[in-house]
């Protein structure tokens, strides 16, 4: 067991070791330690693009150059700028290298790490310019952000508890145990205005109060790390990059409600996150930060991991608890809410990963600090997974109330290939879209609801003029229809019928009454489904109908897909004036639908054409068009 004093000593020692990564560090001022740290992102995004090979290569190079005692390689969690992976940052300079390949490693080691010359070829340049930026704090993508939940991601080595402690890790737990009563703690959380980041936005303090007030000698704390939205990866990044913050927050929650046991329910599809969590829990136990009599205060708390097995509905809280109990993860009616009757019928507090990640910061910096960030009813920051048709893909954290325009153009760097911004989709399969004319919307819980979307877990998918909104609605409905657990008929049958209508429309067989049928079905499914999955499943359809009704009508009435996506509605043809008669198209056509004489314009037989688009890709003269 570690005492508060020992924790302080450890913090100061670890802080000195990693002070080299801080702003204003004086090079060479601390000769006891490494003169340089090279941070390599080892999150899922970067490891998918060979960051581990980069790391291994670096380590070998350091040995070869005999500077492995001077330069240290540190694996961190996600920096957030995923489209540029693999990413490394060299301290004390703070030099940001991106899109590194294992072949670049030698040059970085020899030039930068040995001789101190920055390798400008591997620096980042802002989209649309070729000015190289070396200091990563001055990159636009980062400097509009405010990191609270992600404060340690990409900053510390998640497999070393000492680095977490160096950033005041476990001091919030110590403060709570030594200085605060359960009631004071809950009051503080209520005052902070923190709302659940898992989707609904329920006030966290209130939920803690319910779980605290429900009498019971056995209670549970549960973390929802099921992250089912197919375009969101913030919870995974927190667990990969800063697992101890979740452990600490859950222990704080345990103290608040009077629980000694917690469970983290995490999807099995996240092997790196699971692995880091296992290591973190083990280290926390070793240091006595989990277990019996924590900080000698008599408080006991321990944690276990439970793996999901690929069912989206298990993200719903009652289904999740049923799944931990070992059954089919079907939701049950609420009330009783989990705070009253949850896991094994005991009072259970369940929060999302990002919700927990905010807690230690709120305790240490105070509720007033947290409440000063954000809007009147949505406090703090929100992490978004920015993806789709956008230059800078990655994970961002911004104050609540940040305009969508800032996210898309300043942080996201705009839309690639000179295309026009069409809409942003938030809330995943439960959400809706924000069309281009509402780009100045300030993003918070209530504004999104007012637009017919929702915050959801924070997936933010950007779409351009080449995306068909009917097709997108169909995509989400396919998802919910497949993931419906089938317990209640409105969801099981209603989503299927809605999907059939959408398939009909996108195949060019839509009829004028389809839209009103969709609307009637949507109302029924929303109002009569048992759980949130069914209740929100129609949202993507309703929202696209609200803002892009003309696209539905074009599909139905004119048998035309304005964005040129729905295959059955496309028609490929060759513009005779532009065609040079080179015959490339005829050669690539898999069904022999193109014919002609060399040096004369070719023609496409639309009867045989399967609309694969291969010819259009190959034509060097832009002579083939689809409409």
């Amino acid at each position: 067991m570690i005492s508060l004093n020992e924790l302080k000593v450890l913090r100061d020692k670890s802080r000195a070791e990693i002070s080299i990564r801080e702003k204003g560090y004086l090079a060479g001022s601390n000769m006891d330690f490494y003169r340089s740290h090279v941070l390599v992102c080892a999150g899922t995004g970067c490891t998918s693009s060979e960051s581990l090979e980069v790391r291994n290569g670096l380590k070998e190079e350091l040995i070869r150059l005999n500077i492995d005692k001077e330069v240290k390689v540190v694996e961190t969690g996600c920096f957030g700028f995923c489209s540029l992976g693999p990413i490394i940052v060299v301290y004390p300079e703070g030099t940001f290298y991106c899109l590194i390949t294992p072949e670049d490693v030698k040059e970085i080691a020899e030039e930068h790490l040995l001789k101190g010359h920055i390798v400008s070829r591997l620096l980042y340049s802002e989209p649309g310019t070729d000015k190289k930026v070396s200091d990563f704090e001055s990159i636009e993508f980062f400097n509009h952000q405010k990191r609270v939940a992600l404060r340690n991601c990409g900053v510390i080595n998640p497999e070393k508890v000492e680095e977490y402690i160096a950033h005041d890790g476990y001091f919030a737990l110590a403060k709570v145990l030594e200085e605060m009563t359960q009631e004071q703690l809950i009051e503080e959380l209520k005052k902070s205005g923190l709302r659940g980041r898992g989707g609904g936005g329920f006030p966290a303090g209130l939920k803690w109060q319910f779980a605290h007030k429900t009498p019971g000698d056995i209670k549970y704390v549960v973390c929802n790390a099921d992250e089912g939205d197919p375009g969101a990866f913030m919870d995974r990044s927190v667990l990969e990059g800063d697992p101890h913050s979740i452990i600490e927050a859950m222990a704080i929650a345990g103290y608040a409600i009077g629980s000694e046991q917690g469970y983290i329910y995490i999807r099995a599809e996240y092997p790196i996150a699971v692995h880091r969590l296992e290591i973190a829990i083990e280290q926390a136990r070793e240091f006595g930060l989990l277990g019996q009599n924590i900080f000698g205060t008599g408080f006991n708390f321990d944690l276990d991991i439970r793996l999901g097995a690929g069912a989206f509905v298990c993200g719903e809280e009652t289904a999740l608890l049923t799944s931990i109990e070992g059954h089919r993860g079907e939701p049950r009616p609420r009330p009783p809410f989990p705070a009253v009757e949850g896991l094994w019928r005991k009072p259970t507090l369940l929060n999302n990963v990002e919700t927990y990640a905010n807690i230690p910061a709120i305790i240490l910096k105070g509720a007033d600090w947290f409440a000063s960030i954000g809007t009147e009813k949505s406090k703090g920051t929100k992490v978004f997974a920015l993806a789709g048709k956008i230059n800078n893909i990655g994970l961002i954290e911004v104050p609540m109330g940040t305009p969508l325009r800032t996210i898309i153009y300043d942080i996201g760097g705009g839309i690639p290939n000179g295309k026009k911004f069409k809409a942003a989709q938030t809330g995943g399969p439960s959400g809706g879209c924000i069309p281009a004319h509402l780009i100045d919307t300030e993003i918070d819980y209530d504004n999104l609801i007012a637009l017919g979307s929702m915050m959801g877990s924070g997936g933010l998918i950007v779409m351009d003029e080449t995306d068909c909104m009917v097709d997108i609605a169909k995509f989400f409905l396919e998802f919910t229809q497949e993931e419906s657990c089938g317990k209640c008929p409105p969801c099981r049958i209603g989503t299927k019928r809605m999907l059939e209508i959408l398939e009909k429309i996108t195949k060019g067989r839509g009829t004028p009454d389809d839209i009103s049928q969709l609307e009637t079905l949507a109302r029924t499914v929303k109002s009569s489904s048992l759980c949130g999955l069914g209740q929100t499943a129609p949202n993507p359809v309703l929202s696209t109908l609200k803002y892009f009704r003309d696209e539905y009508e074009a599909h139905i009435n004119e048998k035309r897909c304005p964005a040129g996506v729905c295959k059955e509605l496309l028609n490929f043809s060759i513009i005779a004036d532009k065609c040079k008669g080179c015959s490339v198209c005829a050669k690539v056509c898999p069904v022999g639908a193109i014919s002609g004489v060399v040096k004369e314009p070719y023609v496409i037989n639309s009867e045989t054409c399967i609309k694969c688009g291969a010819c259009m890709e190959k034509c060097k003269f832009g002579a083939i068009v689809k409409e």
């Binding site: 995004g45 693009s49 995923c82 197919p230 439970r306 059954h327 993860g329 997974a385 989709q425």
Partner: protein, 172 residues
């Protein structure tokens, strides 16, 4: 359902069942142990045939119907053997808007498989999944653990040949 271990006396000598015994023993007394045991068992056998399910049911003292109910509910559990290389195309939103649907169509055509099927030679299985979290590399697919990103439609035949080649070289 096919299984390599025909009868119960042979199970005693099958190292996989011995391993399963250990797993069952370890989890037996924990509440909610069925799902963790199924995860481990699938790790050992590669899939969960009826034989294995009924063995687990006996070991955990649960009705077989309950075990089967759980296995069939969760999409990560499979009751049929899988190919040596599992092609898993990400159909998450980010990949979808970047064209992963067309990658999937191409794979279906090239491998002659529908989602969830395995080639007759046991080499390839085709699957779709929801977001592997490498959205920065969209569209992506995974082959076993390896992530292939920034794909174009015509990468598909190349990828398949790559793994065929790997197989030929491996078997020599």
């Amino acid at each position: 359902m096919s299984c390599n271990c025909q009868c119960s006396t042979e199970k005693k000598n099958d190292p996989r069942f011995q391993e399963l015994d250990g797993i069952i023993k370890k989890y037996k007394n924990q509440a909610g142990s069925l799902i963790p045991v199924l995860h481990k068992a699938q790790g050992v056998f590669g899939y969960l045939p009826e034989e294995v399910q009924s063995y687990i049911a006996k070991g955990l003292k649960l009705p077989l119907s309950e075990v089967y109910g759980v296995v069939s509910f969760y999409s990560l559990f499979t009751t049929v053997p899988r190919g040596k290389y599992v092609f898993n195309v990400c159909l998450g939103t980010a990949c979808y808007v970047q064209g992963s649907g067309r990658i999937m169509d191409n794979l279906k055509k090239e491998l002659g498989l529908d989602i969830g099927e395995t080639t007759a030679d046991g080499l390839f299985t085709l699957e779709g999944c929801r977001c592997v979290g490498a959205c920065g590399l969209a569209p992506v697919l995974t082959v076993n653990e390896k992530v292939h990103g920034r794909l174009k439609e015509d990468d598909v035949p190349r990828l398949i040949s790559l793994y065929r080649l790997k197989e030929e070289q491996g078997s020599k």
